[in-house]
């Protein structure tokens, strides 16, 4: 089932939740709506589910307009953020609910519920009440309940938001496999980029009720289309520099930037990702050290190591620019960092392998 969102707008009082949003979701896609809270991602999901009506625009299902179809008739599987399990019903009755209200025969209900309990790995727990389940189990009951009505699309609102880290990762992988098995068009909302990138076929980044970027996880990660996406993906070094004559200046260090060939100088934001920086000791030009050859290159910035922080496989080196006005982070594999043996106080040269420059957009607000 493909989904089409065309020019959808929605506001709550004076708050503009969605502004002319259009989106096509091909059949079988697992799509992530990624954005901070208040970006409109949940509202979009609820409009697709029919839980809310758009102020303008329309929703299509396989090219057929379903904007005015009531949520009851949309045959959408919706997994709520806090699961919204029916507290007074057993797990079995929760899953059976959709079939019960459709007056399905009892035998069919029983076999379908058993099948779903097996699918979500909750065999034998049908008699329990939601209160007797762990968070992850409740989440799977909510999923089974949504799947029980054989929905045409599956919508999940922050499906892992309320779970602890370990369960979250497990469920994520499991959901991906489940999606591949069932092959149903699925959309989930998340504010966690890791979740979006790991799980989704496609990622839609939203901000202030608009779509900032849409693409495959790699595309979005490697080529953030807007400063917002860059910021939201986080973990960047941001500098305020200038551009002119096809070059951007970062602390006086010129970097090639052919997108701006004009002579007129303009302020720009320069983004450097910590893992896309090379770092080398200056003065003692470490032979064979990573990036040693680059240390002398024109496009490198002199800096001083302030401290080293090890975060698992990576080591983060915090440096200070020569005039001590800025800090920037460089990430190296811990093994490499150990080999080079940086010490606080070392003089280093930092060279970007990759730079992103954004000219200021008057409408852009972080």
């Amino acid at each position: 089932m493909s989904i089409g969102v065309h020019g959808v707008s929605k506001s709550f009082g004076t708050f503009q939740a969605l502004e002319n949003v259009s989106l096509d979701i091909p059949h079988g896609t697992l799509l992530a709506l990624l954005g901070p809270s208040g970006s409109g991602k949940t509202t979009l999901l609820r409009i697709i589910a029919g839980l809310e009506g758009p102020d303008a625009g329309r929703i299509e299902e396989d090219g057929q307009d379903i904007t005015n179809r009531h949520a009851r008739q949309r045959e959408v599987g919706f997994v709520f953020q806090h699961y919204a399990l029916f507290r007074h019903m057993s797990v079995f009755e929760n899953i059976a609910f959709g079939m019960r209200v459709r007056k399905a025969p009892a035998a069919e209900i029983t076999s379908r519920v058993e099948e779903l309990l097996h699918l979500v790995r909750l065999d034998g727990l049908g008699a329990r009440k939601p209160a007797q389940l762990s968070g992850g189990q409740r989440q799977r009951v909510a999923l089974a309940r949504a799947l029980a009505i054989r929905p045409r699309i599956l919508l999940l609102d922050e499906p892992f938001g309320a779970l602890d880290a370990k369960v979250r990762v497990e469920l994520r992988q499991w959901l991906r496999r489940l999606h591949d098995e069932i092959g149903m068009t699925s959309i989930f909302v998340t504010h966690d980029q890791e979740e979006a990138f790991e799980l989704a076929d496609e990622v839609v980044v939203m901000n202030h009720g608009r779509i900032e970027q849409r693409g495959k996880p790699d595309e979005v990660f490697d080529k953030p289309a807007t400063p917002f996406v860059m910021d939201f993906l986080g973990n960047v070094n941001l500098f305020h520099g200038r551009v002119e004559n096809g070059r951007a200046f970062w602390h006086g260090v010129p970097i090639d930037y052919p997108d701006y060939p004009h002579a007129q100088s303009r302020p720009a934001r320069v983004y450097l990702r910590p893992h896309e920086l090379d770092i080398a000791r200056t003065g003692t030009a470490a032979p064979g050290g990573l990036g040693g050859a680059l240390a002398a290159a024109a496009q490198s910035l002199p800096a001083t190591v302030v401290r080293l922080t090890r975060t698992g496989a990576m080591t983060r080196i915090t440096c200070q620019t020569g005039d001590a006005s800025h800090e920037l982070h460089v990430d190296l594999p811990s093994a490499v960092a150990r080999e080079i043996a940086f010490q606080p106080g070392d003089s280093v040269a930092i060279t970007p392998r990759h730079v992103r420059v954004f000219l200021p957009d008057p409408e852009y607000v972080i």
Binding site: A84, F86, H88, S134, K166, Q173
Partner: protein, 342 residues
Amino acid sequence: MASNSRWKKSLLNFFHLEHYWKHPLFSAVRRTGQRLARGLRQWSHSLSKAATATRLSELLLIAAAVASIGLLIVVPLASVFVAAFANGPRAWWEAIAHDPDTRHAIWLSLTVAPVAVAFNTIFGIAAAWLVARFRFPGRTLLVSLFDVPFSVSPVVAGLALVLIFGRQGLFGPTLATFGAKVIFAWPGLVLATTFVTLPMVVRELIPVMEAIGPEEELAAVSLGANGWQVFWRITLPNIRWALLHGIVLANARAMGEFGAVYVVSGHIAGATDTMPLRVEKLFQEYRTPASMAVASVLAGLALVTLVAKVVIERQLEAESKELEAARASDAGTDPTTGGDLS
């Protein structure tokens, strides 16, 4: 200071207290009390341990609270039963069962209160659903209108009904041509009782429904349930204890309502006297033992209500804790079957 003493004086005047404020016995009691308090204070100061002093003042507070409740509530309640059974259970039973007017009053109360409560239940559910699940212009005004019956004297409410349905009232002549009677009759009693108890169910339901939130109902709709299915299978089970709480309290008030019913009933013995009205009538007829007997039935009912209330509140508390737990600790893992996804 001058204004202070003027206040004191007018207060004393108001309660006709001035003559015993200066009464020798009273002032002796007053002086003894002051001396006792001073002694206690000195004694507690002399105790070196602060904890003992704290404990002492705690004891005094507890004693004061228990004494207030005892004097204001327990003694009167106990005296109903003592007075009702003063002449033995047999006399009590005869006063209740052998007086046809009293029997009729009991019967009338048993038919009026449930109907009024039923009206209130329907209204309460509809109004709470409206207010807790939808946002619309005028909502706040509507909510404040729910409370109006609490700030209108029941007597005034009864009067308003008389002005509408009474013989000289707005609809009185029209009703008379149909031979229908509202005032001095059963429908008037029901209307008056409904008015007085109107806010009770809805006031219980609104906070509970708002705390539960609409998500379960939305989930049911998205699973294909229609309005009735949502109500009977999701909403009603979720609010059942709050609803019962409201019904029990509304019923107690309905059974005991006096002012509004007094005005619209015309208190015709054997026809429009409810139990509380019967209590008053027997009292006016100087048949205090019989009056106490009827009163003891009502007091017994109040005790049953109280027990039911405590039981229901325990359930409500358990449910709200469960709800909170479900919201808060989703992150918890169940060690038995937590990560079995491989």
